[in-house]
Symmetry: C2
């Protein structure tokens, strides 16, 4: 990506260009490289400005802004969550994001983030599992086979070598589609008739359902010793997936406690329920998995730094793959203080 | 503006198209119409979700997100403030914004807002002055003749009939440029050598300087009875323009107290310093100016609802003037849950 000749221009990655970029890099390579950016940023967690997301809740959904900064770059994501959208042919979650230069405040990149969020969520799950799942984990149950499921499967394959999937969704056609979409990627896939069946023999259980309610996707009796639970779907107030008792038996790892206590599975637990921050495990100041019998749980809600990592990675990749347009987003008068003169001159 | 045929498309108003739109409508008409949207939204103030802006401060500036919603529409603005930017040929303030549908969370409009912010700030100032300045006010001093000055002048002309300007800037060439830019608009303009000189005989004093510090642009002895002060430039912590004593002698009107007490001129005063909320004056539950001798002060910092009004207005105008592009911003798979399948199919 060359430096824009004109200060008014912001590179823009459309949905079409994001797909071209992911395909040019290769989905698994993209996930693996993106994971290194996520990992890198988690390890320097303390250099980030962190704030819980700014959420506007309405009857049927939520619109959120998720900003963060490392002092040199600033990023934010706009993201909605509207489970009912699928009824009108829309996405439950859509997103876009911006990366900016802290020194000038000027945006450096505007990008679609619906696809990118799916990728970064999966990459983050797999990064966490690398520290928390038993080594040699090969079998993963995925409960909830919607838009996020294939990305999760591929991230766990790329980063951990997971190659056996056990799929369950209340809508069997979703599992079948997921299975079909993943056909070429070398998994051994079993479509299951219940979540009970799906978790049989699984080293890792990924829960990634979309309903906005307190549901029990996973009940306590379904979770055996040594399992790693990757809880992705419970990510806003009133939306959980796990029976409370599971939390009591697990070592729980989270991204950013002030946010997770409101939005994660642990919203079911008292405010002082013990959790470990993932970044501390990654940089070595806290323990991850300490025994083969331990149940580990990544209570993932998605945090702004992960979007930051994703935008930072995409910006890097644009140097090699010029899949972007130039957007005339910023006013750039010849003389900075003469904004009105620019308008007058536009009249010819 | 027709409804996009494809759900992936978001209408985008570039800087170029914003200028075309403003020129097609006419600057003064644009300001006047925009003012009716601002006025309308202030009058239904209580129907808005309000939150102080989310600011990321750095050594040389700030990046802010300003969200709000009326329950049907959601809007936010990204805006930076970097006074040193002018040294590198950049704008002190650049901005863009998004208006979304609360029911689906889908963005309906992405727009440049550098020019639009200048217009909405000026329109808001003039709307406030209509309630607070003495009727028959014709002479306005403008102290600080940077990017915002011409917009202020034209808004006060369009809404109040102000037709005599007294300009002062520490950089005389700024005043001269402002004067030159406004030549065709029918003002009687005096370029002054000091702020003292500028305020002589002024009915309204607009302060709109850019330095990020606690400055005294206007000292107490310069403010006579009956004047309306439109204090625009003091708009973040550590950045004020008025000598504190002026505040004590004035009736102070603000947009949103929790934000203004941090960012406005009244950051110099105790937390319980009495202020009146502008919306209450506008909907009739509080008094504005009550006597000809009263000094009124609009301590403006800019609030999210004003950006919301501006985006709402622009979206309306696009029905008549199709100055927008179609941006491929949102992923729109044929089957909403099949995001990964869309990616696979893009590979051909």
């Amino acid at each position: 990506m060359s430096v824009p000749a004109n200060l008014n221009i912001v590179p823009f990655v459309s949905v079409d260009n994001m797909m071209k970029l992911v395909l040019a890099v290769g989905v698994e390579t993209f996930l693996k490289e993106l994971a290194t950016f996520v990992d890198e940023d988690f390890r320097r967690w303390q250099s980030f400005d962190k704030t819980p997301r700014v959420a506007a809740h309405s009857r049927d959904g939520v619109i959120e802004l998720m900003p963060t900064s490392d002092g040199a770059l600033y990023g934010f994501k706009y993201v909605n969550g509207h489970p009912k959208n699928t009824r009108t042919g829309r996405q439950t979650v859509t997103a876009f994001g911006v990366l900016s230069d802290v020194d000038t405040g000027y945006p450096l990149l505007l990008s679609e983030m619906t696809i990118l969020t799916a990728l970064r969520t999966a990459a983050t799950s797999a990064v966490a599992a690398r520290y928390l799942a038993r080594s040699g984990s090969r079998t993963m149950a995925i409960i909830g086979n919607g838009a996020q499921s294939e990305f999760q499967a591929l991230a766990f394959k790329a980063l951990l070598g997971v190659d056996r999937l056990r799929l369950y969704d209340i809508d069997r056609s979703a599992s079948e589609r997921c299975s079909r979409n993943l056909k070429k990627f070398g998994f051994e896939i079993t479509v299951c008739n219940s979540s009970q069946e799906a978790v049989e023999g699984a080293d890792i259980i990924t829960t990634v359902t979309a309903d906005k309610q307190n549901a029990v996707i996973l009940s306590d009796n379904m979770v055996g010793a040594g399992v790693h639970i990757n809880a992705v779907g419970g990510d806003c107030p009133g939306k959980t997936e796990l029976q409370k008792d599971i939390l009591g038996r697990s070592s729980v790892f989270v991204e950013y406690p002030p946010q997770t206590r409101i939005e994660g599975e642990i919203q079911q637990m008292p405010a002082d329920f013990p959790v470990t921050e993932l970044w501390q495990v990654m940089e070595g100041s806290a323990s991850g998995r300490t025994s083969a019998e331990q149940i580990t749980l990544f209570d993932s809600v998605g945090f702004a730094t992960e979007d930051f990592s994703a935008l930072r990675y995409v910006r890097e990749k644009l140097h090699q793959h010029a899949f972007f347009e130039q957007l005339d987003l910023l006013a750039d008068p010849d003389e900075p203080r003469d904004l009105f003169g620019m308008l007058l001159r536009a009249a010819g």
